[in-house]
């Protein structure tokens, strides 16, 4: 009997605790939502009151007057190209590193592993010098190349471990059937790797969508801006107009949150796999 009461008590404590934490975690987001529906004056009076009326002007201003739409589309394009290239480069390299029984491949594997221990911030100063020498600053091509380079190590690892586990027989059969190496890779191997590629793509897309520092250093103030760059610019131009700034954040976060809800499984899988590998 006692045991049962204890169990119920424990359950109650758990529920109360988790909801308190959830409320604390959600509070900043709630403040963003609530204040997006308030005018500047209303926020100045109180940042914690509920909106007096259903004030939609902020949303209109964001969509019509700022460069929100253009940077939204730019980011969408950068994410699409970067993620496609990263997936392709990582699948090719990962597969090669898994199947190529060769000292060179082993050495390269160790080298690429090193990148995981040297964060970008350590060599960012020299990186900008190199990128500038290559003529890649201030254009989207350069930014995408740097993104692919910085984003590929973990995907290469994940693809490699996945390819190690793929049965050899399938590829052998394809070759015997007269497939060339290349068509075997693109028509048999890539489709087989789909589960890991999806995971890799989802995590990469999330990273690129919100990435600021690399874009700021490599791409700078060039136009069209990516979303985080435009948000920094926006913050600078509309300083103190929190109504507009917060609305911008709200609108730009909605797609990511929807993306998370749809891709939840891949995100969880990618994070746990990445943590084990890293």
């Amino acid at each position: 009997m006692n045991w049962k009461i204890g169990k119920k008590l424990l359950y109650a404590v758990k529920v109360i605790l988790i909801w308190i934490f959830a409320a604390i975690f959600f509070a900043p987001l709630l403040l963003v939502i609530v204040n997006s529906f308030k005018s500047k004056g209303e926020i100045m009076t109180s940042a914690i009151s509920l909106p007096k009326s259903f004030y939609l002007n902020n949303f209109v201003t964001i969509v019509t007057e700022s460069n929100f739409v253009s940077s939204f589309l730019t980011s969408l394009m950068v994410v699409t190209i970067t993620t496609t290239l990263t997936v392709l480069v990582a699948a090719m390299a990962g597969y090669s590193l898994a199947k190529w029984k060769n000292k060179v491949a082993g050495f390269l594997m160790t080298m690429i592993m090193c990148t995981l221990f040297v964060p970008f911030q350590v060599y960012m100063v020299a990186m900008i010098v190199v990128v500038k020498d290559l003529g890649l600053t201030g254009n989207l091509f350069g930014l995408i190349m740097v993104y692919v380079a910085l984003g590929m190590p973990v995907p290469i690892f994940l693809c490699r471990s996945y390819a190690v586990g793929m049965p050899k027989e399938i590829e052998e059969a394809a070759i015997i059937d007269g497939c060339s190496n290349w068509s075997m890779f693109f028509r048999i191997v890539l489709p087989l790797m789909k589960p890991i590629l999806a995971t890799v793509a989802v995590l990469n897309a999330l990273w690129v969508w919100g990435e600021f520092l690399v874009a700021f250093l490599v791409y700078g103030n060039a136009k069209p801006m990516t979303l985080p760059l435009s948000q920094r610019y926006f913050y600078g131009t509309y300083s103190n107009q929190w109504n507009l700034i917060l609305t911008n954040f709200l609108v730009s976060s909605i797609p990511v949150i929807l993306f998370y809800i749809v891709m939840q499984k891949h995100i969880v899988k990618g994070i746990t796999a990445g943590a084990v590998k890293g």
Partner: protein, 289 residues
């Protein structure tokens, strides 16, 4: 023989794009960074001189740089310790049977998928606009929390924790779900209560995950840049200037690429040392088992 060469060529070509990117955007910059740290390279000027260890000597003497090591460590220590405990508690609760489990997980994870820049600006709003209103509402005198020398680092750490907790929670949940049900059942039959189950079975079994998360989170928090950038500009009086923020201002505001590179290398040595020590402890522990 010809077939073997063809296969080698195939594997080599598959590796080529990654290799080119790796050399251009990792090997060369890292080598360049090391080289620059021994020079007086300034801005984009193409002439510079080898000055030996002068940059390193300056960094060790430079109080403003030494201060950033302290500030970053303090920030990382709070974020890592409090953050991991919190993530673990969240994971333990969310691993059990609970209503609305998935929605709750989403609430904790969403701060992690938002851009760190946006996270910084949102909390800037919370600290500068919401916080004073709350204090006034409670009838207290309001003060600028980000302007306080003692509170600015804990304030930034709260943001770091808010952003990262969901990430480590996901890893902990996966680890907890990996514990075999049979083991838990067996312990229950032997009369183990919830607390004993937690401290004698669950936590020891996920100890290696805890270490992994500690290593990952230390490396991540030591690199913080966006938070001081968006919330404090490193102030008040350099109190929240983190190492990366310092490197950024040295290189891109003061244009001292050489000195900034030396600072970067020192930061790398610090992060690598911590990681290696933790790795060593983890290996030792695993050997004992």
């Amino acid at each position: 023989m010809k077939k073997k060469m063809k296969t080698n060529l195939f594997y080599g070509l598959l590796l080529l794009p990654a290799l080119v990117l790796f050399v251009l955007f990792f090997i060369i910059p890292v080598a360049q960074s090391t080289w620059l740290s021994f020079t007086d390279s300034f801005g984009m000027k193409s002439t510079y001189h080898f000055i030996g260890l002068d940059n390193y000597k300056e960094a060790l003497r430079d109080l403003s740089f030494r201060k950033t090591i302290g500030a970053t460590s303090k920030y990382a220590l709070i974020s890592v310790v409090v953050g991991n405990i919190l993530s673990l508690i969240l994971a333990l609760i969310l691993d059990s049977k609970l209503r609305l489990k998935n929605s709750l997980r989403a609430v904790f994870f969403i701060p992690n998928i938002m851009s760190l820049l946006v996270v910084g600006y949102i909390w800037n709003f919370v600290y500068t606009s919401v916080f004073p209103d709350v204090l006034e509402g409670l009838g207290m005198k309001s003060f600028a929390i980000l302007g306080s020398k003692t509170l600015v680092i804990p304030a930034l750490a709260i943001v770091g924790i808010w952003n990262a907790a969901g990430y480590y929670m996901v890893i902990y949940i996966a680890a907890l779900q990996g514990i075999s049900e049979d083991l838990i059942e067996a312990a229950k039959i032997d009369g183990a209560g919830t607390l004993r189950l937690l401290f004698n079975i669950r936590l020891p079994l996920i100890a290696s995950t805890v270490f992994t998360c500690l290593i990952l989170s230390i490396a991540a928090h030591m690199k913080v840049f966006e938070l001081p950038y968006t919330m404090t500009s490193g102030g008040p009086v350099g109190e929240s200037t983190t190492m990366v923020y310092k490197i950024y201002t040295t290189a891109f505001n003061a244009n001292r690429n050489g000195y900034a590179s030396a600072q970067s290398i020192i930061m790398f040595i610090i992060i690598a040392a911590i990681t290696l020590i933790l790795n060593y402890i983890m290996k030792k522990r695993e050997e004992k088992l």
